[in-house]
């Protein structure tokens, strides 16, 4: 587990997502009204990128089929997804977003 710099916090507007690659992993930074979340940028349903998915509180909806996920723990919240996605513990320090990235993906 390593704490990695992800992005400047002000680089992602509220309501928007932004894809980033950190330590070889494709991540998505999601800035909803409830905070900034760093999640794996891949839906567990049909493997689509989650970039541009609508954010509502702690939920993100896959832009392809609207599969809902909880960005706090990665849980699939309803059909069509039934498997979770990876999410990363996120901290913001001095306006910078950091995420705990596991050593082995």
């Amino acid at each position: 587990m390593a704490k990695a710099f992800v992005i400047e916090a002000d680089a992602v507007e509220v309501g928007k997502t932004r894809p980033v690659t950190v330590e070889g992993r494709k991540l998505l930074v999601c800035h909803s009204k409830t905070g900034i979340y760093v999640i794996e940028n891949r839906c567990s349903h049909q493997m689509a990128r989650l970039t541009g998915g609508k954010l509502r509180g702690h939920k993100i909806f896959c832009p392809l089929h609207s599969a809902p996920f909880d960005m706090r723990d990665g849980a699939a919240l309803g059909p069509p997804a039934d498997k979770p996605i990876c999410v990363f513990q996120t901290t913001i320090e001095d306006g910078k977003v950091f995420a705990e990235i596991p050593d082995t993906a």
């Binding site: 609508k54 939920k59 909806f61 832009p63 609207s66 809902p68 069509p80």
Partner: protein, 453 residues
């Protein structure tokens, strides 16, 4: 104002004619006895599929479930599904949930937020306004086949007072006219400021009309729900409106006229006093004075909390349930604090099954003691902040739906009624005046079935 009334039949709370509480003039709906096959035959179900459901406005949901553009929910009704989605201009549109390409369900999620809808079969994509956005590998289609740019099939969609309705064939009268209720009746509750805090979809082994019929009268209260006699009058004020709509006002916080002791306060009454912030231990009045005391306490509390919409309500509305029936398959228990919407949704295939879909809507207020009425059966500890929309709880047939004591008693009863109406010995329902709303509903239904409407 109608703080005082006398429980006698016909029940009339005595409100002035201009009040929304006023007793409506009687309607002669005749004495027809309908053959009970309407409760179990596939033939009658098919008549409903053709002559009823496409022609009526169906209650699809509430506006607070889709506050932002792209927010949607899927409304399942029998063999159909509809996507109801908030548009960029804040209007609401509804579409059959079916891909025009090969008929797959376009949206597999039950609710959410979307910038577009993509079919999971071949990836055709549609904007939230239903228009075709993209055909996968369109160059492999003969242009003549897709020249009409097939989008999602739209259905008529409109809302009143925060409640969303759809009409499949698009030929129903304008929504407000169709609903048949007086101007402002629904709007006064400001459902558009309420949030769904509890949603249960329970499957019952009975025809959907067995459900409507049971919930449209309080004649059964002393027998099915004897415990309500300590806190509810079972002589309701019945009001019939045009187009099958009706209302019954059920006086609450009173003992039934059938109870001899009208002096001592019933424990259920005491509970309702506490809900309104009154201390039953120091209450010096009799059982008949509880309703007025609760109304007064609720009025004062509303002023303290700055709830201006209470000015809309009569004193009676602060305690009583205005059980409001919308033709064909809805009843709403309407209270200032919250609204209990029940929908009787037919099973896709089986005429002897329906889904009892119940939503409790609550207007969040910054007072921990402010709650919806106890009869709604809101589970202890429910999050009523409106911040999180709970997922619907699905309860298969045969399991207790845990809807609270009163509604669970109905859930036990109705499958047994369903068995009875199938008997060769049963000839059809004989409705008394206390069941006039049921007859009003069945007479309107008949107009659709026989093609008059």
């Amino acid at each position: 104002m109608s703080a005082q009334y006398k429980a006698k039949w016909p029940m009339d709370l005595g409100a002035p004619a201009e009040s929304l509480e006023a007793k409506q003039p009687d309607i002669d709906n005749g004495l027809d006895v309908y053959h009970p096959s309407r409760y179990y035959s596939h033939q009658f179900k098919e008549l409903e599929e053709q002559n009823l459901w496409p022609k009526v406005w169906l209650l699809a949901g509430v506006t607070t479930d889709i506050p932002e553009d792209g927010d949607f929910f899927v409304f399942s009704f029998g063999r159909e599904e509809f996507i109801v989605v908030r548009q960029e201009d804040e209007s609401i549109k509804a579409f059959y949930n079916v891909c025009p390409h090969r008929g797959n369900r376009v949206c597999l999620a039950r609710s959410g937020a979307a910038a577009s809808f993509a079919c999971s079969f071949h990836g055709w994509r549609f904007d939230i306004d239903g228009s075709l956005d993209q055909i996968t590998d369109e160059d492999t289609f003969d242009p003549r086949l897709v020249a009409h740019r097939p989008g999602l099939s739209e259905v008529a969609c409109d809302s009143v007072g925060g409640i969303i309705f759809i009409n499949m064939d698009g030929k129903a009268p304008p929504l407000k006219e169709y609903l048949g209720l007086p101007e402002g009746y629904i709007e006064q509750y400001e459902v558009d400021k309420m949030h769904v805090v509890h949603h249960v979809r329970s499957e019952w082994n009975a025809n959907w009309k067995i459900g409507v019929d049971a919930f449209y009268e309080t004649y059964h209260l002393p027998y099915v729900h004897p415990q309500t006699q300590g806190v509810m009058e079972d002589f309701s004020q019945n009001d019939l409106y045009p187009n099958g709509a009706s209302r019954m006002i059920v006086p609450i916080c009173v003992k039934s006229h059938r109870v001899e002791d009208q002096e001592s306060v019933d424990p259920y009454q005491a509970h309702m006093m506490m809900e309104a912030g009154l201390d039953p231990a120091t209450f010096e009045g009799s059982a008949v004075e509880v309703r007025e005391a609760v109304q007064k306490a609720k009025r004062e509390r509303a002023e303290r909390l700055g709830l201006d919409h209470y000015a809309n309500f009569t004193d009676g509305q602060l305690t009583d349930s205005w059980a409001t029936g919308l033709f064909p398959n809805v009843q709403m228990g309407m209270h200032p604090e919250g609204v209990f919407i029940m929908r009787f949704i037919p099973d896709a295939k089986d005429p002897e099954k329906f889904i009892y879909d119940t939503m409790i809507l609550f207007r969040p207020v910054a007072d921990p003691d402010y709650d919806v009425p106890a009869w709604m059966g809101l589970p202890e500890g429910t999050d009523c902040s409106g911040d999180t929309r709970p997922e619907p709880i699905w309860v298969p047939a045969g399991e207790s739906p845990n809807l609270g004591e009163v509604l669970d008693q109905d859930a036990e009863l109705l499958p047994i009624v369903q068995q009875g109406v199938r008997s060769r010995g049963y000839r059809g329902a004989l409705y008394g005046d206390q069941e006039q709303r049921v007859r009003h509903f069945e007479v309107e239904l008949e107009r659709y079935i026989n093609g008059e409407k």
